[in-house]
């Protein structure tokens, strides 16, 4: 039982955080050494200091803001669509055994389909637009949350359903009070996987369709050999992904605190 954070646990967590930070610093140092020794040409691998300078400049000028918000917005919208569609469709499929057996093979066929393969189809339908990006992101990231929801809805504790019927609960109440909370751990796990895919696809579609965003920044920097900009872009994407995942992990810990 961990109702209160004990000092011992806090110390252990601080220790872990310190170790993780130390590891990152070692990597940074390694990078610095390789770059300083010119083992790799600075055109391909600039020193970390130059990358941080570039990042600082972009932050001061505010030039980072537009691509960052464009990428985040497209990703968030696509992911939100995928999550809504995934939970609704997954719930419908999961709650009905016949639907499950009819549709599962098709889902298993669609799931491993590389979402980048449908970019040309999306361009055909939507042109080189934001709608194309969002459609591709939503399509590509819907599968983890959809399949997780199907599983969550299908694995409701049968005894709880008997309890519900002995309490004469109506279908809406059963959904709200039993099925949805019971499926929540699966749904959230699926949404976390989907979020990672959404970020990947946001970057890929920007590169494909030349839309303003971090992905396009990286591509343009590479084409004009501005390596510090290139690595700064990658770093920002890394931080963005990390921050999003941490936020979701926090939301998960809060929503699922009953799991200890």
């Amino acid at each position: 039982m961990s109702l209160s954070r004990t000092p011992g646990r806090l110390r252990a967590r601080l220790g872990e955080a310190a170790a993780a930070l130390a590891f990152a610093l070692v990597l940074l140092l390694l990078w610095h050494t390789v770059a300083a020794a010119r083992l790799v040409s600075p055109v391909f691998l600039p020193a970390p200091a130059r990358v941080f300078d570039e990042l600082g400049l972009q932050l001061r000028e505010g030039s980072l803001l537009e691509p960052l918000s464009a990428t985040t917005w497209r990703m968030a919208l696509g992911w939100a669509l995928a999550s809504c569609a995934g939970v609704c469709l997954g719930g419908l499929i999961g709650a009905s055994p016949p639907a499950r057996s009819y549709l599962s093979p098709m889902l298993e066929f669609m799931r491993p389909l590389p979402a980048s393969a449908i970019i040309p189809v999306a361009i055909l339908f939507f042109g080189l637009s934001d709608r194309m990006s969002i459609a591709v992101i939503a399509f590509g990231s819907v599968w983890p949350v959809l399949l997780a929801t199907v599983h969550g809805f299908a694995s409701v504790e049968p005894q709880l359903l008997e309890l519900a019927s002995s309490l004469r609960m109506r279908p809406g109440a059963i959904l709200r009070k039993l099925v949805l909370p019971g499926a929540m751990p699966d749904i959230i796990a699926g949404m976390r996987v989907s979020l990672a895919i959404a970020l990947i696809l946001a970057v890929v579609t920007e590169m494909q369709a030349s839309q303003v965003g971090l992905g396009q920044n990286i591509l343009l920097a590479q084409r004009s050999y501005r390596s510090a900009e290139l690595y700064a872009g990658i770093l920002v994407l890394g931080v963005l992904g990390f921050a999003l995942n941490q936020t979701l992990a926090l939301a998960e810990a809060r929503l699922l605190r009953w799991r200890r």
């Binding site: 109702l3 005894q159 709880l160 002995s166 309490l167 004469r168 109440a173 039993l178 909370p181 009953w258």
Partner: protein, 266 residues
């Protein structure tokens, strides 16, 4: 009022006549329960004891209305059982799968007050939940989640939720089977006291003969394959009963001897 002998008031709260049930199809069809007939009086504490495979749990599910019999009829207060009802609460054996893990103890108890036919308006619910938590000695863990509680405490929560339903009939399926001896004894005494204080009619299923005699106003012994009544005895030991004295009482021992062979023989 508590009657010393039968514990009941003389009118049948529950009547089974000729109830049979079989599972499976064709050649693999197997009778689970065969031609069961008995009454339970209002306010009576009836214990059903039997070896595994005698259809105890199936019988309880029939009484709850979760399954329908193939033949015969089940009537509660002279009305046929057509399905589950809030008037019949069921305490499942496996408490860990019978509580909502995402609700606190208080939330789980409140579940019994929710839904169609729930008689209390919102404002009074909280008060009723608090009373029930008090009754089941759960007040200090009201805000805990089930996973934070011991098995005995979880079973208390389940009983409190069933009481919240204000059922007339309380159905319990080996509720204390998974608990350690001391916890089991204290819950037995609390249940026996509560059932009498609240005037509930109780059908209690167990595979433990001593538990059946200790708790019951009457004990029905079931035989297996298919489940049928092997014996029926009245337990004329006055209440309140005591874990030590009652179990040493000559009447208790006599019943134990009388019924032991029936269970061991299967």
């Amino acid at each position: 009022m508590i009657q010393a002998h039968t514990g009941g008031t003389g009118s049948a709260a529950l009547t089974l006549s000729g109830v049979s049930l079989a599972y499976g199809e064709g050649a693999r069809r197997r009778a689970i329960l065969h031609d069961l007939s008995f009454d339970v009086e209002a306010g009576e504490f009836l214990c059903l004891v039997g070896p595994s495979g005698c259809g105890k749990t199936t019988l309880l599910r029939l009484l709850a209305g979760l399954v329908r019999p193939d033949a015969g009829s089940i009537r509660v207060d002279d009305a046929p059982v057509e399905g589950p009802s809030r008037d019949r609460a069921i305490v499942f054996q496996d408490y860990s799968r019978a509580l909502l893990p995402w609700r606190t103890v208080a939330g789980n108890v409140a579940l019994g007050l929710e839904g169609p036919g729930a008689r209390l308006p919102g404002a009074l619910r909280e008060q009723r939940v608090a009373e029930l938590l008090e009754t089941m000695s759960l007040s200090h863990v009201a805000r805990h989640y089930p996973a934070q509680l011991s098995g005995g405490m979880q079973q208390r929560v389940q009983i409190a939720r069933c009481l919240a339903q204000s059922p007339r009939l309380l159905l319990l399926d080996e509720p204390f089977g998974a608990l350690d001896a001391l916890v089991r004894q204290s819950l037995q005494d609390e249940l026996a006291r509560l059932a009498k204080v609240e005037g509930k009619t109780v059908v209690f299923i167990t595979h433990d003969l001593e538990e059946a005699i200790y708790l019951g106003d009457r004990v029905i012994v079931l035989a297996a394959n298919p489940g049928r009544i092997a014996a029926e005895v009245q337990v004329d030991i006055p209440r309140p009963r005591h874990q030590l004295e009652t179990r040493e009482d000559a009447r208790f021992l006599a019943l134990r001897h009388q019924l032991f062979g029936l269970l061991a023989g299967h």
